[in-house]
Symmetry: D2
Subunit: 401 residues, 4 copies
């Protein structure tokens, strides 16, 4: 480890106005050298090299960029898929999943460059500050964290003024009416007129999805899973990243994956959020349907509780916590037999499963059918009912008679 004479701060850099200003702002506030780190988690936008150069032009002493898209898909989105992770039963954890992978790159850069501090651009009332800082503390307990917007009162107006005063090579447009975060697993939109929870979202807020009400032909897709991992689409082998990307395109074109919800933030307040996650929702829907065929009942019932806790933990920024690791032990075991094909129609905002096939299936036609071939021994039912209901019946004799 190279020990800096001057203190060094690693900054989570997006290339946008706020974090570009942060470079100089942090330098002025702390006297430290700033190292900018940009991580590509599929958020799209500018080329990484352009972003890297801008960081240097804005005063960073070093700038690192990383294409973490496959890492994000394989190590963060995939566990979420195996856990059918939907916070509050709806939100596929889009931003919550990207924070830990970004944290990993920030911590690696801090260690490489001998930085003592990591900086991020979050405000002080959201979930992401917690996810960044708890993540960083967990991977490198000795690193300090700062958030200029929160800790040095760097407002948008001050940032624009700073950029203009320093002549930073960045466009200081008016603020987007919404606050947006996006990556390959989805897109989150908040603030603006959406803060009035009686207001309906307008078509304008969406980018990953087409209007589901527009008439168009349906799209039928077959997704193949092996042990919970999507491995092929319509028979073509895919990586997890490719699976998400292709379904973002195809499900997004059908308006699948829009969410409009009032959400319980970790910091104790409720906020209104609009999400688009066409690939995530299509994959989770297919994965759940395949689990229904391949996972035994009691395991399936318990897994639903585990999934909920998993989603809460990750939402709450506890990706690197011991409980998360132990729940993954459960989830991975439960996914061992989740192999097979799911046929799904994408249309009009809906992702509807209408066919399943699996050589790991626990659906037994001969036990299920009421037709010729029925092997279920109905004479067993009388005894089952008698004893299954016995404790309830004994209580009823006391309570209801």
């Amino acid at each position: 480890m190279e020990i800096a004479v001057t203190d060094r701060v690693v900054l989570a850099y997006s290339g946008g106005l706020d974090t570009s200003v942060c470079i100089g702002w942090i330098a002025e506030e702390t006297g430290a050298e700033v190292i900018a780190v940009a991580v590509d988690v599929g958020q799209g936008g500018e080329d990484l090299d352009v972003i890297r150069q801008r960081a240097l032009d804005c005063g960073a002493v070093e700038a690192e960029v990383a294409d973490a898209r496959d890492e994000f898909a394989n190590e963060y989105c995939l566990p979420a898929l195996k856990a059918n992770a939907l916070y509050q039963g709806q939100y596929p954890l889009v931003s919550a999943l990207s924070r830990p992978v970004i944290v990993k790159h920030l911590v690696a850069a801090a260690q490489k460059h001998g930085a003592t501090t990591v900086a991020h651009g979050c405000t002080g009332k959201g979930n992401d500050q917690v996810r960044f800082e708890v993540g960083i503390q967990s991977l490198a307990p000795s690193l300090k964290c700062i958030a200029p917007v929160r800790d040095y009162a760097m407002t948008r107006d001050k940032a624009i003024a700073f950029a203009e005063a320093k002549n930073l090579p960045i466009v200081t447009t008016k603020k987007n009416p919404y606050s947006i975060d996006q990556n390959v697993f989805g897109r989150a939109v908040e603030t603006g007129f959406l803060e009035d929870i009686w207001n309906a979202p307008i078509e304008d807020v969406y980018e990953y999805t087409q209007n589901p009400a527009t008439e168009r032909a349906a799209d039928e897709v077959v997704i193949t899973f092996e042990a919970g991992v999507p491995v092929a689409i319509d028979g073509r082998k895919v990586t997890v990243l490719q699976a998400i990307e292709e379904l973002n395109k195809r499900a997004g074109a059908q308006g699948v994956g829009r969410l409009d919800m009032v959400e319980d933030r970790l910091v104790g307040i409720k906020s209104r959020e609009i999400y688009e996650a066409p690939g995530a929702i299509a994959l989770i829907t297919a994965h759940q349907a395949l689990e229904n065929v391949t996972v035994e009942r009691e395991l399936a019932r318990y897994k639903r509780q585990v999934e909920q806790r998993w989603a809460e933990l990750v939402y709450d920024g506890l990706w690197f916590s011991p409980l998360k690791r132990a729940l993954d032990g459960f989830v991975n075991e439960a996914n061992q037999h989740v192999s097979g094909e799911i046929r799904m129609v994408l249309h009009g905002g809906r992702a509807v499963v209408n066919g399943r096939k699996s050589d790991q299936s626990l659906y037994d036609f001969n036990l299920a059918t009421y037709d010729t071939g029925d092997t279920f021994d109905q004479s067993m039912s009388k005894g089952f009912i008698e004893i299954f209901g016995l404790s309830s019946k004994i209580a009823a004799r006391r309570d209801l008679a």
Copy 2:
């Protein structure tokens, strides 16, 4: 209680071929007098008086009919709505909810007419036999239960032959290709070609819902809840029954509420089920959205687990169990503040909430906004993050360093 000289059996009577044949079949098998009881839970079809007369014509010594639609809506569907009850996260318990109300009427009839036995038309491999018999045992532990199809091998073919031999006043058509159960809360379809789980359902199986893919104008609805109870639609006061019926019509017309799933039966097998529950799905969606606004985070997180157990219990036929009653204690307390209005667009198979209003709201614009008026004290976040993540950080020092 009047004691019959001849033994008496109360039969759950639908008016259809199978239970019409059961009247004579039971009489022959047991020598008992049969009392037919038909309960209207909104399944539609023939007039209750017609059904009553048919029972008598088929040999019943008594026939009772009951319009239990409001009772079913208020005492069975409403608790399910408060619990957002969806078995396996999907199925709104349509048949499972109707069994206990029918059981109540069967037991009352048995007590009124001095019957010692209750008979039902279920097979020996489904859930409903358990729901009937555990329910009956719980309300009247001394009553016996019989199921001619299961216990006396009364197959469809034998039933037709019996009807023809006895010249029963009932049409002995070929069997419907599907097995169907329906009531005001929804409709279940199974068997036939659907037993091949790779086969997609065809439009033919649906009755409560229109094809969601057909182009039509959207329908916007505002549902008002008081303490979890739907009390008005578009400002017009409604009973719970009326709320379900109106939304069955309006959401059904938009193709909302179709489900196609492989389900874990209580008897240990997986079966393929098609459901239509437009009113139930629309109401639960609205109720959940209002809870997101009015229920505190930790209560909401815990309630999701309770909801799942509630749905499992009711699916498993344990409506009258002590655990169900205690969970209702929790659910009712949790619904106390679930009051307000939900605006929802019904269209193309989707029921999408896009507005909420409540004077019990916990959404606080001033805490949530990033605009003027923000009252959230961001300086508190640093301390929160430090201590919230501390146990995880201490573990990380040991595990990840």
Copy 3:
């Protein structure tokens, strides 16, 4: 902080050195008038009038004392008993239960005397600061909270110096080697040589319990419950407070209720705690044993999970939270039939139940016995086993064959 002339602070007052010094310290730091409030939750020690006079002598403008022992027993200890509340499966929440009742009196005093602020004597690394402040915020969101030890760095040494400089009427002895909190439900001891978790506690740390190793005659007690409430001991009617007090004496004399544990604090650290709670442990043990006889299996299984969450919530200071209220809805319903008598031997540190009697019993001798009178129909078991194990068997055909 600039304080208006009439600003008033309510102080949670114990009569001891620290809170006596707080009176003047807060006045100096804030310029406010201090109102001392002492709440008797059965902690023993000085007369309330003596404590009240001392507060005035130390400079309080008002001093209120309240005998809250029955209120504490009925409204705080009793719900804990119904929930068999044991944090980490062991600790009966002694201090955690007393904080909300004290909070209620502090808030009432603040409202009566027009105070804007409540002060307490806790440090900044324990659970009690959270319990006080979250409780106060929940009952009176507009009240501010201060903690001189934490916020004004009022150390023990400085407190002694202050007391001597001001000539306060209080003995400034050397600090007790332990930090102690006690009330009628138990006693907590921490710090000192106990902070080395390899050190065994010495007899010296205990006050509520005799050495269990000392030879003495056993004491047999019969406790009568009605709907979960202890109503009689050895046939004599008692209030809840009397039940706790009598069992503190009798179980304490036998060394029952000592705990030595490493505990997970809400602030994220582990700490070593010694507890004595003879009455609490004896009552919970008896209550659990009566539940085993009177509560149906599935309700009992689920209640164990609810109990654990209840204990965590109360430990975490969320007594006044919506989730706590909804869990109480469940717990009260579950206790409805917990009526009967428990015979228990108190001896040698053990409280051992060896007899139960209840007219609400679900134990059915005729079903349980292997002797004459057996009414259990063993022929039912075959069918039960077949279907109960079916989903597991189907999975096994795939996984284990």
Copy 4:
């Protein structure tokens, strides 16, 4: 039932009267050849060779004996220890754990000897019939199960008559007043005068434990764990079996591990059970205490729920179920750091931990201490409390104000 000349039945053989009679009884009932299999799970008693010879003398065509004590300890008792498995919070699953290991040997013998059926000596109203048959179905779905006591009405009196008529080489003493099952993990006693739940057990029913009330010197023991496995006692290396055996002796000598409870059987009835499990209780107590030191709070909280479900599953005979395997995935991950030493005093029926030492400890003296060296930053607490309590406070503004 018509049986082929070569049909073979494997019988779970204990060497006692009932299963000795079963050999001939089954042969007569079914015409099959009987293969006796005796499995040593530490139940003590006769030599395996003596038992083997008796089976042959009673008519078995083959007799197999297996010393499964280490297998039982390592693969069945150890997972239970890692899960701190206590059914209803008390019972360490003594009999429930031994059934699956016996099942494994029965199935292996059936496969080796080409048997089609497995027989066991259980009655039709207990848990063990379920554990045997669901276990056998899970390992070998094609095997049939029979239970002569249940299926062929083989009562005790008939068994004695049969033994005398056939001159079987076995003592036909009067029945023991109790029904007993024992193995190295503990001993279960039921029936007799204990079926009156107001009757206290008498000293006579105990064999593994001395009277705890007898005066004797205390015994202090240090148990070393590695990743949840007990590996040394007082510094001497031990196998899991040796650990259990040594603690059975030492804790048993101090009266540790007696239980008297009313238990919820799987078949829906409540029964009264006396258990002795000195080694199991001592080991679980030590293991829990070490977890308190080495397992992070949120993991520890969740694990308590998992433990309860694990115990229910195993009690219910679902050892070989998919859910059990997935829970083991969680439990093993959670035990990874449970390494260190626990010092415990065994005395007067109590096993009391009073010292812990671990290089995997999460107890941080410097964070916990109130003394010199305190590194906890108390200034963080204010922010933590504010945000931790915020959702509750917002709800309180609505509900309690």
